[in-house]
């Protein structure tokens, strides 16, 4: 396993810039998730790393060796030893599961080799070696695709939306099986997805791709609690954004005076609060708000609130454990726990 490095990689199609200045490092043996909306350039980035497309500028290094740069080095896809798990698995329909997994192995090992059994067991598909792709479920197809990618000991593995189109239960199960296999093999991997939960639960680091640029690359925890701007904050989760006034480690807004983390100039700012930071008390102190709507998500409930303050009305949302959630029409007092983050106010 080797580490992957992209230095200032850029790609455009005709006039349209698809990727600009991508700097990305995936350390040896870890998984980085690239999170982006559709059309953000995720698939193009994968294809550049795979070698199916040529970058216009910048370099791509795999294990310290340049595999692509603007001066003309372009290692062919088949010579890069990068495993690839395509969107729907892309299993060869004319081969059995075992033959699919053995596809990338040397001829002598292709038939019933120890490695085929090993990787199939690794992804929990040990019993399916002789079945055919159309006989197994969508989730199982993804696992076999991963086993096929891992079998020839690649330098790294790329996963393109590996869980898309699976139903919720199967998704969790497949995700766990994939993560376990990648961890067991100490695989350097890059996963692209548009699903925030998937990116943050799988990636040691998450890189947010926005309009062809990397907006932020950070651990899931930092990304969620200290996103670089309001857009990223909203992209990675629900956010309440309020105007405020920052002074020396604290910020004043309609929800009172809140503790601030992170750097920022004093003065007029935007305050970003996660809905689960906002507590709703039936009696006590804190700003007084009216519950106008509730959306039930099982364990928790998203509560819509309106808050009148100095002749202005603010629309907020707060997340509560479902058994504690208030009802529509109730009045509650809002209390913010933990620290918040601020951004310069829009001029």
């Amino acid at each position: 396993m080797a580490d992957l490095r992209c230095d200032a990689v850029a790609k455009h199609f005709h006039e349209h810039r698809v990727l600009t200045d991508i700097d990305l490092t995936v350390p040896h043996g870890t998984l980085t998730a690239v999170l982006g909306a559709s059309g953000s350039g995720k698939t193009t980035l994968l294809r550049l790393i795979m070698g199916f497309a040529h970058a216009d500028s910048g370099r791509i290094l795999l294990g310290g060796d340049v595999v692509s740069d603007a001066s003309g080095v372009h290692v062919k896809p088949e010579a890069r030893a990068i495993g690839y798990v395509a969107q729907e698995g892309a299993l060869f329909p004319h081969l059995s599961v075992g033959e699919n997994v053995g596809f990338g192995l040397p001829r002598s090992e292709r038939r019933s080799s120890h490695r085929i059994t090993e990787v199939l067991q690794l992804v929990g598909m040990g019993a399916s070696e002789h079945r055919h792709p159309h006989e197994i479920s969508g989730g199982e197809q993804r696992r076999v695709a991963l086993a096929r990618a891992l079998a020839p000991h690649p330098k790294m593995v790329l996963l393109d939306e590996p869980f898309s189109g699976l139903d919720a239960g199967l998704r969790v199960e497949t995700r766990e099986a994939v993560l376990a296999a990648l961890t067991e093999e100490e695989t350097t991997s890059l996963l692209v997805t548009h699903d925030q939960g998937e990116a943050m639960s799988l990636g040691r680091e998450v890189a947010v791709l926005r309009h062809g640029c990397l907006a932020q690359t950070a651990t899931p925890d930092v990304l969620y609690h200290a996103p670089v701007d309001v857009d990223v904050a909203r992209f990675v989760g629900d956010a309440v954004v309020l105007p405020g006034n920052r002074t020396a480690g604290a910020v004043e807004c309609v929800l009172g005076t809140l503790r601030v983390t992170g750097h920022g100039d004093d003065g007029a700012v935007l305050v970003m609060i996660r809905p689960e930071q906002i507590g709703m008390l039936r009696r006590g102190v804190g700003s007084d708000a009216l519950v106008t709507g509730c959306t039930y998500f099982g364990p928790n409930t998203m509560v819509k609130l309106t808050l009148d303050h100095e002749e202005a009305t603010y629309l907020l949302s707060a997340r509560a454990f479902s058994h504690e959630a208030p009802r529509v029409g109730e009045r509650v007092h809002l209390v913010v726990s933990g620290s918040v983050i601020t951004y310069p106010a829009e001029v």
């Binding site: 896809p77 729907e88 299993l91 990338g104």
Partner: protein, 521 residues
């Protein structure tokens, strides 16, 4: 009996009944010929069997087929792969020129090769003419299959360390198998009963000998017996191909977003490749066009005077040909459509039987099939005898397999879920077909019609038997002139046929395998 692909409903009884009617119509000439053979004079039949050097003819025909089938397979697949998978400059033009030979009348090509050099008389010429005219069948089918292939399969193979050749050999070729086998089957069947390709050269094959026997007598039982026997290899090939292909239905397992497959850089290999392709196109298109120009420039009295068909016949013959072939295209679509729907949507022994029986058109030499229909008209339906409608029906029957090919490729692209959506909105099967499937398949219908049009335009033998007295077509007039070596007089007829062929090629290439509203495969 006839189950829906992927399990579920059976085919509606009405559709199956329609399919059975179509199969019965298509098999009719074979049945008539077999009956003639059985009820005929056995003495005459045995004389024909021993006297005409049948074994030599069978051997000649088998040799041609054995040479032509692999050549067409290799040329068709290679050309399709280079056009669809490499950065060949000017791909659209190459594609058009590569397909053009299929629409050029074979007897024109035959005379063209024959007059090119005496060394093309015989086996070599037969192989050149047949191979250079039939490889586009394989090309059309395999290139449509290449365009429909999920690019992720090839990318996965490359990510697993396979180079160009190994990706082709281990992933692309197995996926191409159904299309390739289907194409080779058509080439083999067509070659075994080919007649027109050999009119210009002196290479006795089964079909042209049969045809001369038939020209002597409409119902020679000896010739009937031999012709009925010639249906045997056809049946054997149909069974073998169905067995070899099995239930292989390599449609995509996945339904991810469809994007363009990665094209390989050709680098320095570009020049030799383009030279080879020019050679191939030269054989298929260049030879007939060049010969035509040469004929037009001949000024010898022999080339012009005494020609049975003069320039005055050109306009009436053109009009007859265009109307006749267009009508044949429409009727052939109507015949092939029920079978195409059954073959793409349902499976089971009945579906297979109906689909296979359509190919029985190729069981007999065209002239024998046409003669059988003439015999049928004379004895059963006198109103059709010496009526041009009978020739339209004959063309539709003889070229129904080509229509079936065009329809199947397009219908196979249409997701059954669309039809199911229409059903869920309250449409009956027939209305759903009329409002969803048929409009989507329109380009495929056009392609199928044009294929039949081109084959009908290139027919000589059926017209010789079934054309009412006094009516002429481009084909018959061309033949009348060229068989009396009045090549300059024949040239204008060939020129109009070539022009029609090129128009047909353009329509065919812009429609084949396409579904309306989809960016296209």
């Amino acid at each position: 009996m006839v189950e829906r692909r992927g399990g579920g409903r059976s085919a509606p009884a009405g559709l199956v009944a329609l399919g059975i009617v179509v199969a019965a119509i298509i098999v009719l000439p074979v049945v008539i010929t077999v009956v003639q053979a059985i009820t005929g004079d056995w003495q005459e039949a045995t004389d024909a069997l021993t006297g005409s050097g049948v074994l030599g003819l069978v051997r000649n025909t088998a040799l041609i087929a054995a040479a032509v089938v692999p050549i067409c397979g290799i040329l068709g697949v290679a050309a399709a792969w280079f056009v669809e998978r490499t950065r060949l400059p000017g791909r659209r033009i190459w594609a058009l020129l590569l397909v053009a030979p299929i629409t050029i009348p074979l007897f024109v090509t035959s005379y063209a090769w024959a007059t090119l050099s005496p060394s093309f008389q015989g086996f070599l010429g037969g192989v050149c003419i047949t191979a250079s005219s039939y490889y586009p069948i394989v090309y059309l089918l395999t290139s449509a299959s290449l365009r429909g292939m999920d690019p992720a399969l090839e990318e996965s193979a490359r990510s697993l360390g396979c180079g160009t050749w190994r990706v082709f050999h281990r992933v692309v070729l197995p996926q191409l198998r159904p299309a390739l086998l289907g194409g080779l089957l058509l080439v083999a069947l067509d070659t075994l009963v080919e007649y027109d390709a050999f009119v210009g050269i002196h290479y006795p094959v089964f079909a042209n000998t049969m045809s001369s026997l038939y020209r002597v007598s409409f119902s020679s039982s000896g010739a009937a017996l031999l012709s009925a026997a010639s249906a045997l290899p056809c049946v054997v090939l149909l069974v073998v191909e169905a067995r070899v292909r099995g239930n292989a239905d390599y449609t995509r397992v996945s339904h991810g977003s469809r994007r363009q497959a990665v094209r390989y850089e050709l680098g320095r290999g570009r020049i030799p490749l383009m030279v080879a392709m020019v050679g191939l196109i030269g054989a298929g298109v260049g030879v007939p066009v060049w010969t035509l120009i040469e004929w037009s420039l001949q000024r010898s009295p022999q080339a012009l005077s005494g020609a049975p068909a003069g320039i005055a016949d050109l306009v009436p013959a053109s009009i007859t040909s265009v109307l006749l072939c267009a009508a044949a295209g429409l009727v052939a679509i109507a015949l092939a459509l029920p079978v195409a729907v059954i073959a793409t949507r349902y499976r089971g022994w009945m579906a297979t039987l109906l689909e296979r029986s359509t190919y029985m058109s190729f069981a007999l030499p065209d002239l024998v099939g046409a003669a059988a229909l003439g015999y049928f008209a004379l004895h059963v339906a006198p109103f059709l005898y010496e009526n041009i409608a009978l020739l339209v029906i004959a063309y539709a029957i003889l070229f129904a397999p080509m229509a079936l090919v065009g329809l199947r490729v397009t219908l196979g692209q249409i997701e059954p879920s669309l039809d199911e959506a229409a059903r869920s909105l309250g449409l009956g099967g027939l209305r759903s077909f009329g409002r969803v499937t048929l409009p989507l398949a329109r380009p495929g219908l056009a392609a199928a019609g044009v294929l039949v049009f081109a084959f009908a335009l290139g027919d000589l033998s059926s017209a010789q038997v079934l054309l009412p007295p006094g009516v002429t077509t481009l084909g018959t007039q061309f033949w009348a002139d060229s068989s009396t070596v009045a090549f300059a007089a024949a040239a204008p007829f060939a020129a109009v046929m070539l022009a029609l062929s090129f128009v047909a090629t353009y329509v065919l290439m812009s429609r084949f395998g396409k579904v309306r509203g989809v960016g296209g495969i």
